[in-house]
Point group: C2
Chain length 245, copies 2
DNA sequence: TGCCGGGATTTTGCATACCAAAACCTGTAT
DNA sequence: ATACAGGTTTTGGTATGCAAAATCCCGGCA
């Protein structure tokens, strides 16, 4: 045989028919579909972990979570496994799930990777942003500055995430965007305690960054983002509750 | 309450006792533990996808996979979900799993991200590699050069992966290493067809790279790796079966 | 007191069975 | 050909059972 035969039952050339229709496939909005339960559970647990209801180190018992959420064990198991793959919980064989205990070293490594990815994304974004995109960036910037003035820490973290996410999206690299999404969400978990003191400088740096993107100056955007994220990393180490040397 | 109460049954301060014993926790080699079935299934399916037994676009039916592998649907479902999160299959709601169809654009984005991550990793590695590490690098290099001389394509791909993986490990950033692991494994899926023509240059570049690491010249290592991975990306676009413009 | 050991208990990991809803396929009538 | 209707397949989820492994508890021993 020139091609190895599939060991599975024959279901035609490509299994079921590949999606093909007379309608354009772009922006094909489907009928509203209820989210799979495992997804809902995933989001619920992630929320409980992020807002510290479930504390780091805590043992998560499938049956308890299932009862609490009113679902069976299966979607809970599936959600826990996804949470593991994204670093929110540790799954010890035959012992189950424990809320991940972030170490200081790990936070540093995460912030370091974030820096590299976001820097690259800023460079790409500067080369692709349209006038409309820049307008949107300024809107996001204003939201953040307002949250800063209002001393709204939660709003500040959200606005920061939104701004970075939008730049990421502008990069036009979906793989990069997905990776940054993963990393940033975890960073946010550690970041909240330093959002306030870091805020003032950070939003000034955002200002510079948007100017660079607006000027389509990729090199400047790259440098500014690099400095920006590295300063955030420094700030983490100088946070109030950092371990004493 | 100053701390929000956990909505789950109380199981003591941190759930079960956190591992604590009189033995050193470093390098604590545990008793041999059989891998969870879901892990075995995951690896089996990944292998079948990489070696093209399961073709891109093919519909994977849980029940068929379960029967073929001699397990129940549960571990298969769990493995499929992990395969999705790592980009090997697409899980369409209410339709099931389909082997991912890599697009040309996606391959380019993946190679681009790989370039960024590997470049950073090379810089870090140059600053940390010991004499022993360098010796090991030369061994890996020799393995690859030998596979090149023997025209052993599979060995070449493996050796290439091993060399890059070792450099990644030298970086000392576990988060970075994990991300590179994910990205590289997918790159390898696309890479095989160009491993041969790219081989000669690639291993010369490895040679330079190891010299830079040996000299602890982080900047040179960074530049060489950047050029190296970018050339691989170019090679992908110039591969024999590339789409005609 | 502090440590050790063995049995009871809990929890995971997987199997099996079952079901509703959704998507698909097929054959027929237009 | 196209559209429709009905039967089939597949997913996603529930419920239950069970063996293996890990933990916990408690009593005996130093």
């Amino acid at each position: 045989m020139s091609q190895p035969a599939s060991p599975l039952p024959d279901r035609g050339p490509t299994g079921r028919r590949t999606a093909k229709g007379s309608l354009s496939s772009t922006a094909g909005k489907r009928v509203e579909r209820p989210a799979p339960l495992r997804q809902v559970v995933y989001e619920a647990l992630a929320e409980l972990i992020i807002n510290r209801t479930l504390e780091p180190g805590q043992h998560l018992v499938e049956a308890d979570l299932a009862e609490y959420l009113g679902v069976s064990r299966q979607p809970v198991r599936e959600a826990l496994q996804r949470l593991q793959s994204e670093g929110w919980v540790d799954l010890r064989p035959a012992q189950g799930a424990f809320v991940h205990l972030p170490t200081d070293e790990e936070a540093d490594q995460l912030l370091s990777v974030r820096s590299v990815l976001e820097t690259h994304s800023a460079k790409l974004a500067a080369g692709r942003a349209t006038a409309d995109d820049v307008k949107r960036l300024w809107e996001l910037q204003n939201t953040g500055v307002k949250a800063l003035a209002d001393e709204d820490t939660e709003g500040l973290v959200t606005a920061n995430a939104a701004l970075h996410a939008f730049i990421t999206q502008l990069s036009g690299n979906a793989v990069l965007a997905e990776l940054i999404g993963l990393v940033d969400r975890r960073v946010r978990w550690y970041y909240t305690p330093i959002a306030r003191p870091r805020g003032h400088d950070a939003w000034n740096e955002h200002d510079e960054l948007i100017h660079a993107i607006s000027d389509k100056d990729a090199e400047a955007a790259e440098q500014i983002m690099s400095r920006h994220t590295e300063k955030t990393r420094q700030a983490y180490h100088e946070r109030p509750d950092a371990p004493r040397p």
